[in-house]
Symmetry: C2
Subunit: 387 residues, 2 copies
């Protein structure tokens, strides 16, 4: 299996971008990544997108976007695992380079979510849950994550304030990220006083609805070295994917996400690393409770101790293990199909030392965790500076 | 790059299957493929599906179906390139095995199309075209392929009867296939007298709306040899994917499909084969004109001579180059995401000599062509009996 590196990254504007279409957002990210890589040709394109059919009435994004980029002919396909669509887009591109089917692949993600009403958006997102066994009975994602939060509070004594501290930390990080959708700092009181969405989660516990795209250029290590021009080379040292029972009620324990544990196990084994080697993390904080549960599922803290991490300062910039220095889904935004790729954009910048005020000092090993549904699909990636 | 073989195949019932859900259809195909392979574990699952969001209100099929199969934990993802979703599912699974990320992969496709009305189905299928530049102006796929047919008739003198002969041949083949949706033989007069859909195409020039699923188990060659139990081993000798301008009006010539030409070039180069080596073909006859254009684009006949192939008997069973011995999309049915996998199911059976009355004698090299939209995505696969 050939070694694979990230040689370029790019983001579109993120937010409620009413002035740009899906294809325009995607092209901005793709062109930025190609410019950053110093490459104007690729052998293949992957597009992570959860539901362009329901959000903008357009499937077949592979060919559509290869065409938009002026690259008709290039193999192009879409990959989907709900909110982990970006992660599986990366995984699919990784396999193409690792196998030798392609030397240079543009791995991307995109979602245009604000062209439909709020209700339509909630309904489209709910197609990531089990339609027949969850959605039919009225479950939506805020409701499902609220049940996880309530279960965690009951079992481990996690407090309402600890949930809020995750949002406060991630907004503080996001305030230093010019690409973040919400750059204002917030307080615990702000979170507690914000509108109730699904008890115990308030609106400031939830990641926003976002339009946006992200792109990375992957290459085999030999090609990466040729194009490096003295910059540090960021290697994908390990990548793992795992699934789980899709319906939350089918799992024996709602306070942990086994697919994330398994995906991390696979990614770390491939990288030959232990979880303790990781110096900076981007993880899937679609709701505040998610960051708490994922920290535990990754083994970054003991079970039940996830709630203490943000209040203690450990996971803040300047702490022992900065988590979501980009601002995370909560502050940076969550265009669902783009998120898994955007995590790689942030961590590549961290490993290259390009993050300015939110730079994690001397970071050389980074981990990204991206998930779909209530964690039924998880993708974990270990990035390292190549020596 | 490791060599990859097909070690098991399976199909669900195909047709208007109102008594089975998407997950039930898929599981029947998957379980049949696993039983055929003699394997009860896989390292990974890929699901080709064009638009489960619009057809049945369910995305996130990777995790949903891994769960349904009783294999939660296994990496699982969905791949989409419109009606080439099955083909890119195969390609993605191939890359995972070729790279060494997985030894055994369940590569599948599924579409449940009859849970919506005819109009909703046409609208869902239209999301494979360019929404802003084709669909907005009223184009649907019968209309787009009708334009290709008219252009081919104008340029090359292809006749209305020659189009009909494709349907007659494929229904004759399908009459010998117990899995085909439509098993009745038809005549040229039947086709000419059937209801007009989009001039010059009548309803019997069009593939039907179908519910169905297909699955193949891929393995590296060493694993395949271990599980062969004396059966011939069917190798994926080559596979190629290509894209093109998505909108038909953006291409310089409507009478050819360059992405198919390019994908075939890549697949044959990987296999070390010439097109003349191919002894049996399954190709994407979504409309009768498509078979004619694809034969030319693959180089299986000279440009302009596609119309003569069916009437001459060359592409019929018993002819020099049997095309669509399964009955093709026209007779066998076209559950769009499943089609690209079902082609591999048929050709594997042909290469193993399991096709009974529709067996192509002594077939050792086979080619599958699957496409999305008006050919903006094409996947070509060369299968061979391993020596």
């Amino acid at each position: 299996m050939r070694e694979v590196a990230v040689i370029g990254t790019g983001l579109s504007p993120w937010g409620e971008v009413w002035g740009a279409s899906l294809r325009s957002l995607w092209s901005q990210a793709a062109l930025a990544a190609l410019a950053d890589a110093g490459s104007d040709k690729v052998d293949s394109i992957t597009v992570g997108s959860m539901s362009p059919g329901l959000f903008v009435g357009q499937e077949h994004l592979g060919a559509l976007l290869a065409d938009e980029l002026g690259m008709p002919g290039v193999p192009a396909l879409r990959v989907e695992s709900a909110c982990a669509s970006g992660g599986v887009s990366l995984y699919t591109a990784f396999a193409q380079v690792a196998s030798g089917l392609a030397d240079v692949v543009l791995a991307t993600g995109v979602e245009k979510m604000t062209d439909v009403s709020g209700d339509e958006c909630t309904a489209a997102l709910a197609t990531a849950a089990d339609g027949e066994c969850e959605v039919f009975y009225g479950a939506t994602f805020p409701g499902l994550y609220a049940m996880m939060a309530r279960a965690h509070m009951e079992r481990w004594g996690t407090t309402r304030e600890q949930l809020a501290e995750v949002a406060v930390k991630n907004h503080k990080h996001g305030s230093m990220n010019p690409n973040a959708q919400y750059r204002q700092k917030i307080t615990v009181v702000d979170v507690l006083r914000s509108a109730k969405v699904a008890d115990p989660l308030n609106v400031l516990d939830c990641s926003p609805i976002t339009d946006g795209a992200a792109a990375v250029v992957l290459a085999d290590l030999a090609t990466a070295k040729k194009l490096a021009k003295g910059r540090p080379i960021v290697k994908i040292a390990g990548i793992g994917v795992a699934s789980d029972r899709i319906a939350l009620h089918s799992r024996p324990d709602m306070t942990t996400i086994p697919a994330t544990t398994e995906a991390a196990h696979r990614a770390l084994a491939m990288a030959g690393r232990a979880i303790a080697d990781v110096q900076v993390v981007e993880l899937h904080d679609c709701f505040t409770i998610a960051e708490i549960v994922v920290l535990e599922s990754l083994g970054l803290c003991p079970p039940g101790k996830g709630g203490e991490q943000a209040p203690s300062g450990r996971t803040a910039l300047g702490g022992a293990l900065p988590v979501n220095p980009s601002g995370g889904l909560k502050s940076k935004g969550h265009p669902v199909g783009a998120t898994g790729i955007a995590q790689i954009v942030e961590l590549s910048a961290q490993l290259r030392g390009q993050c300015g005020p939110r730079q994690v000092k001397d970071a050389r090993v980074a981990l990204a965790q991206n998930m779909g549904g209530t964690g039924a699909s998880s993708v974990v990636t270990v990035l390292e500076v190549a020596s």
